[in-house]
C-alpha cells in the first residue's frame, strides 16, 4: 500500500474541489426549475472542520463485503472497488461489527487506492473502553493500510471512553478525523447531546427518502456545529430500490440527471445541504456504476425534494 500522506491527500482533494468548482457550466442561471447548481463530474462536499472535499457518493460494506474467503466473491469485490474508484469514489466505511468485511477490504483494495482517492473510515466497536486502541490496530492490519482517515464510535457503544481515545489519536496525528455513528433512528437524543458538547468532525446517521427524522434537529445541528454528515442506510438495506424497481421516474428525473430510482434516492439524500456523503452498499458491479452516476446533474432544491419524497411514497 502507498505511504499515507495526509497533506498530499488534502492537497489532492482541494485541487479536485477547485477543479469541480471551476468547471461549473455557464448555464447555471438556465438550470431547470426545481434544480440547483449542476455538478460537473462527481459531486463533492466540504468536510466542515478542514474544508477538504469528499465525493458525495461513498460506499458502505455492511453485509455486502462480509464474504469470508470465497474466491469468486472476492473477485467481484475487486471489480466493485475498481468501478468505485474509476467513478471518483472516496469514502469507504466499515466496522469490526461487519464480520469479515475489513479483511475482505484488505484483500481487495487496489494497491493504489489512496492515489485513486480512498478515504478510509472504520469504527471502534467494543464494550470495553480500554480495548479501543487494540481493536483499531486490528482493523488497520485487516485493511492493510498505514492508517485511517476517519475513526468513529460505532452506535455510541462506550462512546465516552472511545471518544477520548479518538481525540488523543487525532491530537497525535494518528487519525485525521473522528466521529460517532448511529443507525435506524436510534439514540438521536444522545447523539444530539454529543454533537453539542464534543469536538467531533463527523456524525453518521440514517437518512433517506423515508427516514427523515434527522431533518428536524440533527442535520441543522450538524450545520450549526460544523460537523460533516454521513448518511447510512440510504436504501434501507435494499428495500427502497426494490419498491421503485421497474418504475419510471417522473419528469423531474431528467431535470436532475437521474435515470433510475436508486440514483434519485441517492441524489435526494446528498442534496440536503447538511449531508456530506451517502454510503450505499452493494455486491454488484452494475449497481456500483449506477450508484456512482447519481448526483451528477443539477441537485433538487427544497421544493423538488418534497416532490421526490411524495412521489416515492406514492409508489
Amino acid at each position: 500500500m502507498s505511504h499515507f500522506d495526509p497533506n498530499r491527500r488534502r492537497l489532492l482533494h482541494a485541487a479536485t474541489g477547485m477543479l469541480a468548482a471551476g468547471a461549473l457550466p455557464a448555464s447555471v442561471a438556465a438550470a431547470p426549475a426545481g434544480a440547483r447548481t449542476p455538478a460537473a463530474g462527481p459531486l463533492t462536499r466540504p468536510i466542515p472542520s478542514s474544508g477538504e472535499r469528499l465525493p458525495a457518493i461513498g460506499m458502505g460494506t455492511w453485509i455486502t463485503f462480509n464474504v469470508g474467503d470465497n474466491p469468486d466473491a472476492l473477485a467481484v469485490r475487486r471489480q466493485i472497488l475498481d468501478a468505485f474508484f474509476d467513478a471518483g469514489g472516496g469514502i469507504i466505511d466499515s466496522s469490526p461489527m461487519y464480520g469479515s468485511a475489513e479483511a475482505v477490504l484488505g484483500r481487495t483494495l487496489p494497491a493504489d487506492a489512496h492515489e485513486r482517492g480512498l478515504f478510509a473510515a472504520t469504527k471502534v466497536w467494543t464494550r470495553d473502553g480500554d480495548a479501543g486502541p487494540d481493536e483499531i490496530e486490528t482493523s488497520r492490519r485487516l485493511w492493510d493500510l498505514p492508517g485511517f482517515d476517519l475513526l468513529q464510535v460505532h452506535n455510541l457503544l462506550a462512546w465516552d471512553a472511545h471518544l477520548e481515545t479518538l481525540k488523543a489519536m487525532r491530537a497525535d496525528g494518528r487519525v485525521r478525523y473522528i466521529g460517532i455513528t448511529t443507525s435506524h433512528g436510534r439514540r438521536h437524543r444522545d447523539l444530539e447531546q454529543i454533537m453539542e458538547q464534543e469536538p467531533i468532525d463527523f456524525v453518521q446517521l440514517t437518512y433517506n427518502v423515508i427516514d427523515r427524522e434527522a431533518e428536524r434537529r440533527l442535520l441543522p445541528l450538524a450545520r450549526e456545529r460544523g460537523i460533516a454528515v454521513i448518511a447510512n442506510r440510504p436504501y434501507r438495506g435494499g428495500d427502497l430500490p426494490d419498491r421503485g424497481a421497474g418504475r419510471p421516474l417522473p419528469g423531474w428525473g431528467a431535470e436532475i440527471g437521474c435515470e433510475t430510482w436508486p440514483q434519485a434516492l441517492l441524489t435526494f439524500i446528498v442534496s440536503h445541504p447538511a449531508v456530506t456523503c451517502a454510503i450505499p452498499a452493494t455486491s454488484r458491479v452494475d449497481h456500483m456504476r449506477e450508484n456512482m452516476a447519481a448526483a451528477r446533474g443539477p441537485l433538487p432544491d427544497a421544493a423538488l425534494r418534497q416532490r421526490i419524497a411524495a412521489d416515492f411514497a406514492a409508489l
Binding site: 462480509n66 464474504v67 474467503d69 461489527m97 464480520g99
Partner: protein
C-alpha cells in the same frame, strides 16, 4: 447496545448467498465427515427403532460427538469468519455435546423389554422416530426441492439444522427428566436458524421450527405409548 431495538435483519451481517456459499464450502472441505454424519444418522435410526432404553446410550454419545464437531468445525471455524456471535453459538453447541455425552454415561432403568405383541403400537418405531427420520433422510430432500444447490444442503450429523431437529427427536424418545436438559440448545438453534432464514427470505425458513413444535407432543405420545398393558410372555 440496545438489543431490543434490533430486528433479526440487523443482526445477520451477511447475505443469503454468502450463507449458501459458506455451506457449500464447508460440505466440500469436510466431505468425509458429511458422509460419516449421514451414515451415523442411519445407524441412529436403526438403534432407536426398537425402543430399547439400553441402546439410547450409544445414540446419545454419537449425537454428542456430532454437536462437538459442529461446534468447532462449522460454528467456530467456518461461521466465525462471518458472524461475531458465532463463538457464543459454538460454546452453546459444545455444552450440548457435553450434555449428550453426560446423559450417555448415565444408566437407564428398564432392561430389554419383552417384544410387544403383533398389533401393539410398541412394535413400531416410536412417534419421535419419524421426526428423526425426517431430519436424517428428508431434510436435504426438502431443501433440494425448493431449489437449493445440492452442494449447500444441510446434512444430518454435520449440518446444524438437521442435527438439532434430530436431537429433539431423540430427546423426545429419552425417558426421564434428563431429556429436559437436552432441549434448550437445539430449540434455541432452531429459532435462530429460522430467524436467519427468514431474513434471507428462504422458502424453508419455517422448517427448523417444526422440531421444537413437535417435541412436546411427541414426548407425551412416547411416554403414553410406553404403557402397553398387554405383553407377550418371554417365551413367545
Amino acid at each position: 447496545m440496545d438489543w431490543l431495538g434490533y430486528s433479526p435483519a440487523d443482526l445477520v451481517p451477511f447475505s443469503g448467498e454468502t450463507w449458501l456459499a459458506l455451506l457449500a464450502r464447508y460440505n466440500e472441505d469436510h466431505l468425509p465427515a458429511v458422509i460419516a454424519g449421514m451414515a451415523l444418522g442411519l445407524v441412529l435410526l436403526r438403534l432407536t427403532a426398537g425402543r430399547s432404553p439400553r441402546l439410547l446410550r450409544p445414540v446419545l454419545a454419537l449425537l454428542g460427538l456430532c454437536w462437538l464437531w459442529i461446534s468447532w468445525t462449522f460454528l467456530h471455524q467456518a461461521l466465525g469468519t462471518l458472524l461475531w456471535a458465532a463463538d457464543w453459538l459454538a460454546w452453546a453447541f459444545a455444552v450440548q455435546g457435553a450434555l449428550l455425552l453426560l446423559c450417555a454415561g448415565l444408566p437407564y432403568t428398564g432392561a430389554m423389554t419383552p417384544r410387544p405383541r403383533l398389533g401393539s403400537p410398541l412394535r413400531y418405531p416410536p412417534p419421535a422416530w419419524w421426526l428423526l427420520a425426517t431430519a436424517v433422510l428428508l431434510w436435504p430432500v426438502l431443501e433440494l426441492a425448493v431449489g437449493r444447490v445440492w452442494t449447500a444442503l444441510g446434512w444430518f450429523g454435520t449440518g446444524p439444522d438437521a442435527t438439532a431437529a434430530g436431537t429433539l427427536a431423540v430427546a423426545a424418545m429419552t425417558p426421564g427428566r434428563r431429556a429436559w436438559l437436552l432441549l434448550p440448545v437445539p430449540v434455541l438453534w432452531c429459532l435462530v436458524s429460522s430467524a436467519m432464514l427468514g431474513v434471507f427470505e428462504a422458502p424453508l425458513w419455517w422448517l427448523p421450527l417444526v422440531a421444537p413444535l413437535l417435541v412436546g407432543p411427541l414426548s407425551w405420545l412416547e411416554r403414553r405409548g410406553a404403557q402397553d398393558p398387554v405383553r407377550l410372555p418371554p417365551s413367545a
